[in-house]
Symmetry: C2
DNA sequence: GATTATTTTCTCGACAGTCGAGAAATTTGA
DNA sequence: TCAAATTTCTCGACTGTCGAGAAAATAATC
């Protein structure tokens, strides 16, 4: 359904536009903003004075010497305009980061995670104390925290911050919104981890390719398997999604997965699955809860020396991934694939299987093999994705709610 | 990348909005347009007088008696504002329809299709003469034809009107844009047939559910298998896509498909595949080019009487469809599925397999079985989808290009 | 040191668009 | 014939963008 437009909406969108170029390029002068946005100088004046009055941006005292002429005055976000807390949940720890409005990291710590499975409720409690702790350490008042951005592996509700399914808690849903609302008035968003990786890669790619960028997928290999897809939207920036790829059906009636279903991709390509297959344990064995990476390294070493069942295990994993990717490509357009996560260290062993698995489908035979890149540093990408998404959400909210209220 | 907004853009969008409610509800009075759009009466006045001057809409002489008070004057599209030609390519015929700007069918005929496979070039030639013919018969000048909307089964380029792969011509690409450009200055669009079915169903659904509508998939069963997905977009109406579902990998190294690959869904669920499987022909047999429906009806009749291999054939087909749908659902959100096409007459035989195939995946076990509806009248939906899409494209183009030029 | 050239920022009036209020138009009912 | 009701139209206020040019501030030049 279409909806009506008004002149106020125009100002809102242009204000967000100004903030977004400021975010992308750091501090900028009046003229530069005008160049980047395509808006006239007069409009930039109007918008920036408004944003300055609302205490969202400020004039930087550091003058950029720009040859002769009136010196430029640089504008930048006010760091203390608001704060962001990033919570990254991984299988063995939870990392808390406090970030200011300009995207600068202020404080960070990690907390070990207890491995007891019973504790969805206890886990939420731990997150709440973690959040209090990072706030206390920084002496920032709670109202100044505008957004709490959480990420986890698993399946996430697309509209509300609810963890629908996760490798650790299974179908024990966690609703972060209602869990944090009593204490925090900040907005809470939750994203799948690999979605954030894809978002970060997409943002990088768009800087390089500009308007030529179309789409991209990120595949994360580890104990579990994640996939994120980012597509260029019409005008609303990029669209990202995190399908339930690890638990897509690879083979009906196949190996038993941690989720309880048979034949998921993860049941062939997850770390525990590779272990199981290398030791020729029956495929209906209940998977190990946790596999040390050292264990897999040993199998990989043997595979590299030509050991048959070890090689076979990685090959099976590759095939499952390749078949799955081909199915994903059948449902989307052709796009490059970036492989990331701890599993990238075995890419040499997985590669042949992946390519063969891809090649078994009509779409790949017709359009050719998609471009595959290996990008090992996943944690950096996750954090970068958090910042990209969270800060642009803050920009949006701040403009919609805060501009006229600032003075 | 975000892009700048201006007040002119606001007028453009609101004009398109006015045209779209006019299209949805037929002729409307000033006040009603105001109610439907949420725009103020003054704005409606401004926009409608502009559109009337540009000869896009007109006052209807038929006065709607509305009790006491000043009588309403109804506004409606001018039928002769422009015309649309709809070309529906199916496996045995090509249907041409001439439609006026108000969506009324003016003329229609079908032409048999020669089954010779060599003729991508000859086929394009046939389409060109078909288009000339429908224009000649109606005595409408060529410039008045604003859009030619074509549909076919197969894989379509998402940005240009290029048929990338089709059941009949294989990888012999057909670029309708360059084929028709010398004669026609009308815009040319090409969509996958099942995409249009999905679009039509989505539009119907949105009328019923309004803002509650989220997404929906249409599955077309026949000689080949098609899938269309429609999702509610942010504010830009609905987003539709037509994945290459029929040739998604069902089972690595499986039955030989018409496309030359092994193991496609179509190689299990297409009419030719059901035939092959019912007669226990080896799965690597080159598929029949064309299967009369009567032939399949016979198999279905036997299956309904309990004949084993016939039942098995339909069950295998259902499993392939169910597995494929579960994979699709793993990559999207949960959505209802409408099954359409000639294959719906065998739905009683397919159903169990489809449900079992769906149930083998994690996503369905977790979220439950998606709602499945059977909607047999596919041709009507295809045409309805054509009109929905084509006329809204025309509205958009007409507002962008034509409004100030009208006077 | 005064002047000129150059560059950036700011300001003003014109123009486009939406909205609310109320005037004008037109029919029904008393 | 007049009042009530309803729709359409019009006017002034407000918001927004833009182009042009004024104002500001520095570097180069004489």
């Amino acid at each position: 359904m279409l909806t009506k437009s008004s002149t106020e909406l125009v100002r809102q969108r242009n204000s967000v536009l100004v903030l977004s170029v400021l975010r992308r390029h750091g501090q900028l002068a009046h003229t530069e903003i005008s160049d980047f946005t395509g808006l006239s100088s007069a409009t930039i004046s109007a918008i920036t004075t408004e944003l300055e009055k609302a205490q969202i941006i400020e004039k930087s005292e550091q003058q950029a010497a720009s040859g002769r002429g009136r010196p430029r005055v640089l504008l930048r976000q006010r760091r203390d305009c608001g704060y962001l807390i990033v919570v990254i949940i991984s299988s063995d720890a939870v990392q808390y980061s406090l970030v200011d409005y300009a995207g600068k990291l202020i404080d960070r710590f990690s907390e070990e995670r207890s491995h007891d499975p019973s504790g969805a409720g206890r886990f939420v409690q731990a997150v709440r104390t973690g959040l209090s702790r990072i706030l206390d350490r920084s002496k920032i008042s709670q109202e100044k925290v505008l957004l709490i951005s959480i990420s986890s592996k698993g399946l996430v509700n697309s509209t509300e911050p609810v963890l629908v399914w996760s490798p650790i808690f299974g179908s024990d849903q966690i609703d972060f919104e209602s869990a944090l609302r009593p204490e925090w008035q900040a907005k809470v968003i939750l994203d799948n981890e690999t979605l954030l990786v894809a978002a970060a890669l997409g943002a990088r790619e768009e800087i390089v390719k500009g308007a030529d960028f179309r789409s991209l997928a990120a595949l994360s290999l580890g104990h579990s398997i994640g996939l994120g897809i980012v597509r260029r939207g019409n005008e609303t920036g990029q669209e990202v999604s995190a399908p339930n790829f690890g638990h897509m059906l690879h083979m009906a009636g196949g190996g038993l997965c941690r989720c309880g279903t048979r034949g998921c991709i993860e049941a062939y390509a997850g770390f525990y699955a590779i272990l199981r297959s290398a030791f020729e344990v029956p495929l209906d064995t209940i998977p190990a809860k946790f596999v040390p990476v050292a264990e897999l390294d040993k199998i990989a070493a043997r595979a590299r020396q030509g050991h048959r069942t070890s090689t076979f295990a990685f090959r099976q994993a590759g095939l499952a991934l390749g078949n799955g990717l081909s199915r994903m490509l059948s449902l989307t357009e052709r796009m490059p694939i970036s492989i990331t996560g701890p599993g990238t260290r075995y890419y040499d062993l997985l590669r042949q299987g992946i390519e063969e698995g891809l090649g078994q489908s009509h779409i790949v035979r017709m359009e050719g093999m998609p471009e595959i890149r290996v990008v090992p540093d996943e944690p950096i990408l996750v954090f970068e994705g958090h910042l990209n998404r969270a800060l642009s959400v803050i920009d949006q909210d701040i403009v919609i709610s805060g501009v006229q209220g600032g003075e």
